[in-house]
Symmetry: C2
Amino acid sequence: MTPSPRIGLDIGGTKIEGIALDPAGDIVARALVPTVPGPTGVLQASGDIVARLIGESGLARAEFAGVGIGIPGQVDRATGTVRNAYNMGLSSLALGPELAAAIDLPVSVDNDVTAAAVGAASIMRLEGTVAYLNLGTGLAAGVTVDGAPVRGADGFAGEIGHLAVDPRMRPCPCGQRGCLETVASGSALKAHWPAGGEHPGRTLNAAVAAGDADAKQALEYLIDGAAQTIRVLGLTVNPGAFVVGGGLRLLGAPLFDGIRAQLAEWAAASEFIAALRFPERLQVLPEGSPAAAIGAAIAVNE
Amino acid sequence: MTPSPRIGLDIGGTKIEGIALDPAGDIVARALVPTVPGPTGVLQASGDIVARLIGESGLARAEFAGVGIGIPGQVDRATGTVRNAYNMGLSSLALGPELAAAIDLPVSVDNDVTAAAVGAASIMRLEGTVAYLNLGTGLAAGVTVDGAPVRGADGFAGEIGHLAVDPRMRPCPCGQRGCLETVASGSALKAHWPAGGEHPGRTLNAAVAAGDADAKQALEYLIDGAAQTIRVLGLTVNPGAFVVGGGLRLLGAPLFDGIRAQLAEWAAASEFIAALRFPERLQVLPEGSPAAAIGAAIAVNE
């Protein structure tokens, strides 16, 4: 991390979370505002939260190295353009240059899961090869090596949720069938357990405990898909740690005990898989960690 | 590449290929010797080929920065130890320190596919994220970012051949079933087309052309597994290029036309997959390129 203060924003479909880091990398200001969909709304809300963070930090605007943004969708880091961030009404926006012009600070843009992977490695002080797995509305992953993200060629790194592996072959909005995201994600949970309503993650554990068969099945799919994702990442880049983030991690023990049990079952069937030590290497991002905002701030001026 | 001459060895089950690079990275000496199985044989043959390369290079031993080795099996780069390289009779050997003591030069050791990935990116001048796919006796892959390998935590990076994905569920020596390596590798080819003998890759195209149904099936499996491997790598790290190396690449057009057709079929079914541009990004390592030896030399003193 370079020794200048910087700001990080995690722009999501419902809220924008922002933090300011001092030169030591400690959080000196934090703010949360609702997302206003569409290009004008996103730019206006982002500019407002940056102004608030600067004000609360007690530092002058000119002292900041810049603003880093993590946002869903396909991001072209070279031009600061984000595409296909449909859940916030953006089909294509030159977010980096437009926000930079509005706030008079350099702006760098990353995919939100890439930013969260960088932030998670920093928060959890993980060196070497680390895989970050985001169990949110969708399923995606990020790989870091000594804290630096593997970004790939054109903003699709970590789109492992669209790996078609599930023999049930459920249709995915991406056009394929049987994608991991149709098994292990918030949207999959809704599809498999319609009674769970808009936020099934909040009541799933209680429903499973009460014997709801659909809820139990949905949790089993989630466990199976997450374990499969860890196996794919493990056999591709051999991470020393797998960190699970995203809202569904708050399911806690019922989810993680299940994932570890599945990974241990595979290890029991193969010495080769056992040597990869998947169950021991599984970690959970602590609740309340603004990983994507911190990672976006770290990626400023990289 | 640092400005000192260096030596690279690619130690395989049947031969050891060695090269010496001058400070500009050009090959100034090249040698090939048969592999003598077992620890003593491997060390002796490696020492001999290093002496020959130094002699042919016209440079003094003391001018060399060191010797890099690419070898199959699980490699601990920190200690220079190789384990489970069964096809050359090595269960565990401290290859780095033992060879260094014998030849009086620093020795670094890498997995052969990792070394080949580094070498392929260098030979083909590929920047950014590159996936190297080795279709040899086994199936493995290496990922590089700007020429540097993603090594992972403990020498298993790129063991994607042991990703269990095949619904035919054929047993794999690793203890699992349905591994990609049971579909797309030299050993898979032998299993699916026993009439092909010890080196089925040499006669497969002719047998397919002559209408041999088993040969045709074996080629189809190979195409399918290679295409699946590319898809997994693509959705995990989004490489800008996929380079195929290994002996089976010499099957040429029947193999690569088939892989491209499968990748194009998936792209036709999904705009998302189409955007990843798999067919255009598929490249073949030129015949006769000593990729693993060059990559091992590059990795000296990294």
